[in-house]
């Protein structure tokens, strides 16, 4: 398993971004030369970039419109995000926030940027781990697949079935295997690629083997196959969670921050107008 490819942007892409950075720097420099307020101009630029960052989510909602591929929009989103971080430090002058509102805004932004950067890294790191098994399941499919496995294994353990009539095995199933089968387990072990869950499962089944007579051998093997299918589901579930979990921070925070920034702009505007 190799870590996912980090694609290096082409020379043309890098030079286009450099141009944007130079243009922004020129605007800010001009403002300073003209004795304008750097914090105001950087603030407006920051607001513009924030609105543009928000457009990415809207673009994703309309994949049927000829507005360029979402992958190109993601590149723009990441580039603009990095520029927004730089603008943020220019805007705040690198100062520690004061007051509750400013602190919320400050930490909200930092958290949002950090979650974006973490997300970006995770999305490049996780694919080869996520896809090392077969078949592939989407995050939404996994609970349904787990339910199917549980149902099929329950059917192998009915009272009248060859497996269900063995006391020892029924106990093992009821107390140990079934609870494990019923939901994703050992998520951390899968993320560190630990072989422990597989070993434990193998040892459980080999311990049980001696209590199985010839007639029950086939359903016993079926049960083991179901359990090992569940193991793969657990593994994929863990990687899905890691791969997409950061969005649970990034998306709500975007909404909150948009509202907060809006309020911030209104407050600053009313202060400026008041002072004038």
């Amino acid at each position: 398993m190799s870590p996912t490819s980090f694609r290096i942007p082409s020379g043309a892409v890098i030079s286009r971004w450099l141009l944007v950075v130079v243009a922004i720097a020129a605007i800010l420099w001009q403002t300073q030369l003209g004795l304008g307020d750097l914090s105001t101009s950087s603030g407006w630029l920051l607001l513009a970039s924030f609105l543009f960052l928000g457009l990415y989510g809207a673009r994703k909602k309309v994949p049927f419109l000829p507005l360029g591929r979402v992958s190109s929009w993601l590149s723009l989103h990441i580039g603009t995000g990095l520029i927004a971080v730089a603008l943020f430090f220019v805007h705040t002058g690198g100062r520690w926030p004061s007051g509750g509102f400013e602190t919320t805004l400050w930490f909200g932004f930092i958290l949002l940027a950090a979650s974006g950067i973490v997300g970006w890294g995770l999305q490049r790191l996780t694919p080869s781990f996520l896809h090392s098994g077969d078949p592939l399941f989407s995050e939404e499919q996994i609970p349904r697949e787990i339910a199917i496995i549980l149902q099929e294994s329950d059917q192998l353990l009915t009272e009248t079935s060859p497996l269900g009539s063995s006391e020892v095995l029924s106990h093992f199933y009821r107390d140990r295997l079934r609870p494990w089968l019923s939901a994703p387990r050992e998520q951390w072990a899968h993320l560190i690629d630990s072989g422990r869950p597989r070993l434990r499962l193998a040892s459980d089944f080999s311990e049980m083997k001696r209590y199985i007579d010839l007639e029950a051998r086939e359903p016993f093997d079926e049960l083991e196959a179901l359990a090992s299918g569940k193991l793969e589901l657990d593994r994929q579930h863990a990687w899905h969670r890691l791969s997409h979990g950061w969005l649970l921070v990034h998306l709500p925070l975007t909404g909150v921050l948009l509202v907060t920034i809006f309020v911030h702009v209104l407050v600053v505007r009313s202060h400026t107008e008041g002072a004038l």
Partner: protein, 562 residues
């Protein structure tokens, strides 16, 4: 919710024409010299000849100058000319200006955006109102092709057209080879034609071996010449010389028409097993008696012996030449022309062998070296693909795809934005699953690839699954589909599913007689009609999903290494 009962759809619920062909025209068509070998007694009681003609054929009345079919368009019907005369025009470069392509009707931006709230909240909703009155005829995506040609006199003057006389049959190439029309047909005078769709022709041939023989003979005598004449590689060869070379040539058929049968079972076998099932047309080291032109067939594998196995170097497409360099070098050096590589047929392969002398004197001096080089490069590609990947793509017959959905698993984060995009453009019913067969980090998803040779079309009893006339995209006409599942079985790529349908209110639709759910076949339609084309490809944030045309393998190499 309670199930809604309807009568299970059957083959002839929807005739080919706006109405069934009249008895008078059924009789007239069957009297034509090209059809008079058909006898009603040969047909079984469940498939009477008259019913077949009534429902699988339709009448076309064309005025002088009307276009009947346009070169490059897709269609799998055959025409029987009952009165009048047709001109057959072959114009590979489209110089005569009649080869304009019509875009299928696309949604406006507003219409597309409205999908966001118009989409159904339950799966597979259908209108179960009277289907016939809703659809009209099967050609609804193609519309009426009887467009008038004003400059007809101009190309008659250029001496290009051949004639089709009353009583003859035409259109057999596209029907037999599931390929695009190889020539344009224009009414030279007012004409009456009976057009028979593939489903009818298939059954007519099945119960009338004489007709099958006649149609194949037609294909042999004129079809292949058309296919050669339209190949861009020969576009600079003077017409007369090309015709003379074609006349002197030999035609060969190799491979297996039913190549898809059993393919699923042995997909994934090792390379030895797979290539052993392919017919060796030429073995490396064989003495070549001429240049082979690939006339039709979705691909042939080019290999070279590597130890005990055959190493795949690339594959051919129709119009490609095989053995060209060997023949030219041998003429220059005075040595025998021995094949440097082997050629193996995948599916059916039609070849034309232009004898060495004819090739060297009549064709070679006019070939454009640049075009030949392009072909050499694109057909034997090493690029950044591993040998294993190339073997995989050829073994799995993925190279049949003109729009294969490939997912790079090293980039895919499993976000399913592609599936969601497909759902949003299809009334909340995704038309593919992010599953398929894989090699290393490449997943070939079970989404319709819109094949060069769409074998799914062959057995459909109603013609519901068909290629759109202008774009060649393989689509299923939902109202004509009877849910028999023949296409599902025939597609070797698991790209078609049958789904249980619901009415507008979300009630399951069931057969009034048996109570069994009514099902319909569904698959990817390449987002036909959406303003931006394949939504899945547009939606992927990581450029992990791409639709690849294996006629242009460079695009795959560039994307994989991009």
């Amino acid at each position: 919710m309670s199930p809604v009962e309807i009568e299970r759809p059957r083959r002839w619920d929807q005739p080919f024409g706006d109405r069934p062909l009249s008895d008078e025209w059924v009789e007239k068509a069957l009297q034509q010299p090209s059809m008079n070998c058909i006898v009603p007694e040969a047909f079984p009681a469940r498939l009477p000849l008259a019913d077949l003609m009534r429902h699988d054929a339709r009448l076309i009345e064309a005025r002088e100058g009307n276009l009947i079919v346009r070169q490059g368009d897709y269609g799998d019907s055959v025409f029987v000319l009952c009165t009048g005369r047709l001109l057959v025009v072959v114009d590979p470069e489209g110089e005569l200006g009649y080869r304009h392509k019509q875009d299928s009707r696309k949604l406006s931006w507003l219409g597309a955006i409205a999908q966001l709230w118009r989409n159904s909240s339950f799966a597979e909703k259908r209108s179960i109102a009277d289907p016939i009155s809703e659809t009209g005829s099967l050609t609804k995506d193609g519309g009426d092709s009887r467009i008038s040609l004003d400059d007809r006199k101009e190309f008659i003057g250029r001496g290009l057209p051949a004639d089709i006389q009353a009583g003859e049959m035409v259109g057999e190439i596209a029907a037999l080879r599931r390929s695009a029309r190889t020539a344009t047909l224009v009414a030279a005078e007012d004409c009456q034609l009976v057009e028979i769709r593939w489903q009818g022709i298939r059954d007519l041939m099945r119960f009338t071996p004489d007709l099958k023989h006649r149609i194949e003979e037609l294909f042999r005598s004129r079809g292949r010449a058309h296919l050669i004449e339209q190949s861009p590689i020969f576009s600079d060869v003077p017409e007369k010389l090309l015709t003379a070379a074609v006349k002197a040539s030999r035609f060969e058929i190799h491979g297996n028409e039913a190549w898809n049968k059993g393919l699923r079972k042995w997909m994934g076998d090792d390379e030895g097993t797979v290539s052993a099932r392919e017919e060796t047309v030429i073995e490396a080291g064989d003495l070549l008696d001429g240049v082979r032109v690939i006339v039709s067939g979705f691909a042939a594998r080019i290999t070279i012996a590597a130890g005990p196995a055959q190493q795949t170097l690339g594959y051919t497409r129709p119009g490609d030449l095989f053995g060209l360099d060997e023949i030219i070098d041998s003429a220059a050096n005075g040595t025998p022309a021995l094949a440097r590589t082997s050629l193996r047929a995948i599916g059916t392969l039609d070849l034309m062998v232009i004898p060495t002398d004819n090739f060297l004197t009549q064709i070679a001096p006019y070939l454009d070296e640049k075009k030949l080089d392009e072909q050499r490069i694109s057909r034997t590609w090493s690029g950044n693909l591993s040998q294993g990947m190339l073997d995989f793509l050829v073994d799995q017959r993925t190279i049949n795809g003109t729009s294969a959905m490939l997912i790079d698993l090293d980039r895919c984060t499993g976000c399913d934005d592609c599936v969601k995009a497909c759902a949003v453009t299809h009334d909340n019913n995704p038309r593919f699953l992010r599953r398929g067969y894989r090699h290393a980090h490449l997943l070939v998803a079970n989404a319709c690839m819109h094949c060069v040779d769409p074998v799914c079309l062959v057995g459909c009893p109603t013609g519901a699954i068909h290629r759109t006339r202008t774009t060649g995209v393989v689509v299923i006409d939902d109202l004509t589909c009877i849910g028999c599942g023949v296409c599902v079985e025939a597609c070797p790529y698991d790209s078609i599913r049958t789904v249980e349908i619901r009415d507008q209110g979300g009630n399951l639709v069931v057969d009034a007689k048996t109570g069994a759910p009514i099902v319909k076949a569904t698959k990817c339609d390449l987002c036909l009609g959406q303003p931006a084309g394949p939504a899945c490809q547009n939606a992927c944030p990581h450029d992990a999903l791409n639709r690849i045309d294996f006629g242009n393998p460079r695009s795959l190499v560039d994307w994989i290494s991009g």
